[in-house]
Amino acid sequence: MAGYLIRRLIQAIPVFLGVTFVVFLLLWLTPGDPVEILLGQTGPITAEEIARIRREFGLDQPFLVQYGRFVVRLFRGDLGTSILHRRPVAALLGETLPATVELTLFAALVALLVGVPAGVIAAVRRRSLWDMVGTVVALAGVSLPGFWLGLILIVVFAVNLKALPVAGRLGFGTGLEPRTGFLLLDALLQRNLPALQEVLRHLIMPALAMSTGMMAMTMRLVRASLLETLGQEYVRTARAKGLPERGVVLRHALRNGLLPVVTALALNLGALLSGNMVVETVFAWPGVGRLVVQAIQTRDYPVVQGGVLFYALTFVVLNLLADLSYSFLDPRIRHGRGE
């Protein structure tokens, strides 16, 4: 098991190098000069000043030298310095990462809490009104753009009903001291219930806007997979033994039916983590997505690199977790592989 893990992690190194090289190349090919954008239009700027800043950030070097320096620094654990913020990229990522991870996990939780039960109902009551309503809602959930849904949620719940805050992560005056950066955790650790409430109130709308796609997919997957397992012989056996239907569905069919859902979940989680730039912008959520969007607009190469590296890492780790969970959920795979 440990050997398998180590081998998989070593295999990830070329993936990282490949990803960063492609991104480096793409940024190199994209027109636009970070220094020009940084200096903006205020005041007279001399050519010497532009040259000085380019030198300071190594932008005057040829492509391969820049990339080489990046890789060398990377192996030393240094992601470079942001041209716009003038601070280490690692620090910027460290500040924004908890916000993104918290929102993503919360959104995934919402998606599962709704998607799995809805899928079970749709499968058990196949072709009923519930099933049809679920199908239509799922279709809508996959098709609705997060941007639009986010704004609609804001207008309904924040502007008209005034039930939830419009945007942001935490208001002022809760007395919460962010330590881990995961505000839910911070509020719990500090036993600050009003703050916990505030954090949850801020989480609901962005999480909903983010989760609809995953929710719908989970529901359809659970439904399809459960329908298949419900037709299996061991299910018929269970029923024949006279087990109550609830036990048959939840204990025998659902556990087996969840296997494909887990893989989909892992991949979806990666997509959620890396694809929430729009939702983070609409809800003024201080996460990695917003940081990277700003970095792309200002050609802040080191920050874009760091962000992409984070996304790549996410996918590698989640894929690995999915593979590992297979052997955990399905003893046959564990024994068959012999690792």
Binding site: T42, I53, P117, K162, G168, A284
Partner: protein, 509 residues
């Protein structure tokens, strides 16, 4: 199904609408479109950062909402020679930790800005905004001398943007700590910065009162000020309507009706400092011919665009400078005259007109579409191409494009800031490739030779006339900047340089 029931209980718990937390005292919240990059006044070049920091820091001089320069931390100043300025500082000013403010702080700030490697080993990106200044010397506790390498008459116009930082504090805590936990001499002191979310500050009770030229003088009236970061315009507007923020920045003209429809809100607009132009590549046909450029100017009905596309919220300009600048020359504008435009085109050898791609960035798309239609009226077959600025800019600098709509900021309202970078030969903002010995000479005269403000003004006004005649660009307008403001806000008005100074603002219920 126990799990299902659990799920519903959980969901209802989540969806339950909780009451918001009360906030003590009078707190004004500004919804701003970008977070500060740093809280160190010496280490950025970013409009929003300056807007936020200016409430915690003061400078030697400041501007009134009418853009007049008045004393702030300096009481008065004099220019004792071409390259030496003396500033007499205000007595009794304290930093937020109680330490008195002295000439040493000014010297420290200037050196930190203009000398290399002074901020965590790097050079301040603001160096270029103060560049001709080479040294600062404290003559006594409250007198400081600034020395420039060359005569620099525009110095005063740049000083409102250079906030003074505390020498004792920065030296004690270091640049990095200072950038996240600043103290200043301004009306509000720093409380906390939740990055990407908000910057909170509260009233500094021992504030010296601010510039005597902008009454009322005294501590701030608000207990607390929060700058909340809301990058998306629709979200900013929603927060304003929900009563979560009191001032929303950067409202596009098409959202004005939505604000006006809400009785609790009002629209406040101020003429900004960005001049908008239709620029042309004058290094090659067809725009190397001044008659063609004049034809384009005659073809554009600027008043019609301002009225119908910009909601009336812009002021037409005859040349580069804003009417708010003391250097503005009030020249006759080129009248809308399509017949004259067609005649000029025929005269220049284009009786059938020509095909043209008009470039712009997204904010100018509507304007560009209308202008293209107007150009088609006189026979120029124009189509519009919308670009991302970072992609368009290198193509402009390489003179690959024909004509485009763009603007240029001039927060100091001094010509040095716009007339030189935009049109002097070889400058970085001179995308049109214009080059005129006369113009360059006038710029040189205004910058280095003119001894009096009058002769300086005369040089720059003559240069404006030259541009209005040669038209390397067609001047369009200076647009208004629009804010959505709660009716509870009193004592605040938007400023042309987009600063949001809340020292004198208050909230009424």
């Amino acid at each position: 199904m126990r799990e299902l029931r659990m799920f519903w209980v959980l969901t209802s718990l989540l969806v339950l609408a909780w009451a918001g937390l009360g906030q003590g005292g009078k707190t004004l919240v500004v919804g701003i479109d970008a977070d500060a990059l740093t809280l160190d006044p010496g280490n950025f070049r970013h409009r929003e950062t300056e807007t936020i920091l200016r409430n915690m820091f003061d400078a030697l001089v400041t501007r009134t909402p009418a853009m007049e320069i008045v004393p702030e931390l300096a009481v008065s100043w004099e220019r004792i020679s071409d390259t030496e300025w003396i500033f007499y500082l205000r007595d009794g000013v304290t930093w937020h930790d109680g330490t008195p403010f002295t000439a040493e702080d000014v010297v420290f700030t200037v050196e930190r800005t203009v000398k290399e490697g002074r901020i965590s080993g790097r050079t301040s990106p603001r160096k270029g905004l103060l560049d001709p200044v080479t040294d600062a010397v404290a003559l006594d506790r409250l007198t400081v001398k600034l020395i420039t390498a060359v005569p620099y008459p525009a110095l005063i116009a740049f000083l409102p943007h250079h906030m003074i930082v505390p020498k004792h504090y920065v030296e004690a805590v270091g640049d990095e700590y200072f950038a996240e936990n600043p103290i200043g001499t301004g009306p509000f002191r720093f409380v906390r910065w939740d990055k990407g979310v908000q910057i909170v500050m509260e009233r500094y009770e021992n504030y010296y009162g601010g510039s005597p030229a902008i009454p009322p003088v005294g501590p701030a009236r608000l207990d607390r000020v929060i700058f909340r970061v809301l990058p998306e315009t629709s979200t900013r507007l929603a927060a304003l309507k929900a009563g979560e923020i009191h001032i929303a920045t950067r409202i596009p003209p098409d959202l004005i009706p939505e604000i006006e429809a809400d009785p609790a809100l009002r629209v406040m607009a101020v003429r900004g400092t960005r001049s908008t132009f239709l620029e042309m590549n004058v290094t090659r046909p067809p725009f190397d011919d001044p008659r063609v450029r004049r034809a384009v100017a005659h073809a554009i009905n600027v008043d019609l665009i301002i009225e119908h596309v910009l909601g009336g919220l812009a002021t037409p300009i005859p040349s580069l400078m804003s009417p708010d600048s003391p250097f503005y020359k009030d020249l006759p504008r080129i009248p809308y005259d399509p017949a004259r435009a067609r005649a000029l085109l025929a005269e220049a050898g284009y009786p059938q007109g020509f095909a043209l791609t008009l470039d712009c960035t997204d904010p100018f798309k509507n304007v560009a579409l209308v202008i293209a239609e107007m150009l088609r009226e006189v026979g120029i077959d124009a189509k519009v191409q919308v670009w991302e600025w970072g992609v368009l800019l290198p193509r402009l600098l390489n003179r690959e494009r024909e004509a485009w709509i763009a603007d240029w900021g001039n927060a100091t309202l001094d010509p040095m800031d716009i007339m030189i970078p935009k049109l002097r030969t070889g400058e970085r903002g001179n995308y049109s490739g214009y080059s005129s010995c006369l113009y360059d000479g006038l710029m040189y005269f205004g910058e280095y030779i003119a001894r009096t403000p009058e002769s300086r003004r005369a040089a720059y006004q003559l240069a404006q006339e030259l541009i209005a005649h040669e038209l390397p660009l067609v001047p369009l307008w200076v647009a208004m900047e629009i804010y959505g403001v709660s009716r509870r806000v009193v004592g605040w008005q938007p400023s042309p340089d987009s600063r949001i100074n809340l020292h004198r603002a208050d909230l009424v219920s």
